[in-house]
Symmetry: C2
Subunit: 287 residues, 2 copies
Amino acid sequence: MTEPSPADEGWIDEHHQGVRYGLAGQVLVDEQSAFQRITVIDSERYGKGLLLDGCWMTAERQERHYHESLVHPALCSAEAIERILVIGGGDGGTARECLRHAGVRHLDMVEIDGRVVELSQKHLASLGAGCWNDPRFRLTVGDGIAWAAGCDDASYDVVIVDGSDPAGPAEGLFNRSFFEHCRRILRPGGVFATQSESPEAFREVHIATVLLLQEVFGHADPLYGWVPMYPSGWWSWTFAAIDGPRYKKPDPQRAAAIAAGCEIWSTRWQSGAFEAMPASIERELQT
Amino acid sequence: MTEPSPADEGWIDEHHQGVRYGLAGQVLVDEQSAFQRITVIDSERYGKGLLLDGCWMTAERQERHYHESLVHPALCSAEAIERILVIGGGDGGTARECLRHAGVRHLDMVEIDGRVVELSQKHLASLGAGCWNDPRFRLTVGDGIAWAAGCDDASYDVVIVDGSDPAGPAEGLFNRSFFEHCRRILRPGGVFATQSESPEAFREVHIATVLLLQEVFGHADPLYGWVPMYPSGWWSWTFAAIDGPRYKKPDPQRAAAIAAGCEIWSTRWQSGAFEAMPASIERELQT
């Protein structure tokens, strides 16, 4: 947790387990919503950025790593991609990357904190870009866990969880009951994706999340990449599906349609990122 | 550059382009050698750590990422591994990982700053571990660039450059003349390895280094991994060889002999790390 303050010599830091990661800049907004503390800053290195409860979430010039890694392995591999559910993702970056796929006809985004959406639309407009006005996009401000529980079976082709760490409003996004609903509401051939924390700074949560998804879905695999502003900079996203690890096989046509607009993601990068599991994590997942 | 100081509320930071990465702890040593400022700290999260000229180099509980990534792709793939040259590497971690390979008969380490070796032996003893007393190990305190220029042709099976950023004493470790000598002193079937900076925080140096090594050796490929304490946490190592990209094909017997002792490296991890090239870097390397 941090105490971002414009008085601290111009640095805004996240503190985590005796480590701090700070950006030089100034605080633009620092307020308490009904759910969490929301801080918007303007940084020298990465432009405007967002913290929730003192933890770095995203920044204008450091958001592609996270959003491309979370979205494209799922959107390139699900059997169909007509109906998408995004839980969380209030900054708009995940919806924006999904809507780059022409096959998407309807995207529900369920974000618990409407104030995150409002502040992102105002200060981080490049994150959501055109998503807010896309006719395929529908925002619901509400509880994504209740939303998943209330959906009919087989409602979506892809379910994406874009939440923060498992504390505060995001805590329920990492348990069996929630994952079972996510599986239930997927159509056959569907793919589930979630951020799954750092294998270094949140090692136990990371391993527990992967193992639980493997139990619930039958097939789940973590992909390892980078988000420099998150604790340790080393991050993971985990993909799950009922009918085999189809998330490892991107559709060539869908991949080709988005490739030129990606900074990080490519079919090559993705195949490497699924393989780049550190030896000690691999041993622990196998036992 | 940073100003590590025990008075700064107990934080020691590296500052880089409007970003700071700090560890909570205390400064044990802070002195100027003939070549650079050397700082040894004791941190809560990663144990004792080393900074050179205010930049994080290594720490007791965060050093495996770097050393395993640099050493094993080379030591597992060179045709022979009898004679090894390490340039830099004064903390001893690179030599330690090399000497885990039973096939190594002689290892020359040429470190410019003897004070780094002395302070590492005293404060970071687990880094070098048994290397300092291994009969196969020979330390020379001197200029690695001059050493490479002075070697006979085909002197080593593997040449490893374990230097700091291309400023100060390490500046000459990133240029054509030095790389040409590294190639010249390699035996046929030999492999060259160097840290090659961050594709995020040192993007231009990273790309220039890879391109230059491809020109000089004919074959060179970067591998992407993590060093949480380095700028952006996202790091690269580049491997080169004259007779094709043999560094991508680890010898199964050598790999099996070291696998159980590795935290990060495995043949699986390595194959992924060579593929996990971000799309924008791949485009730039191809043009």
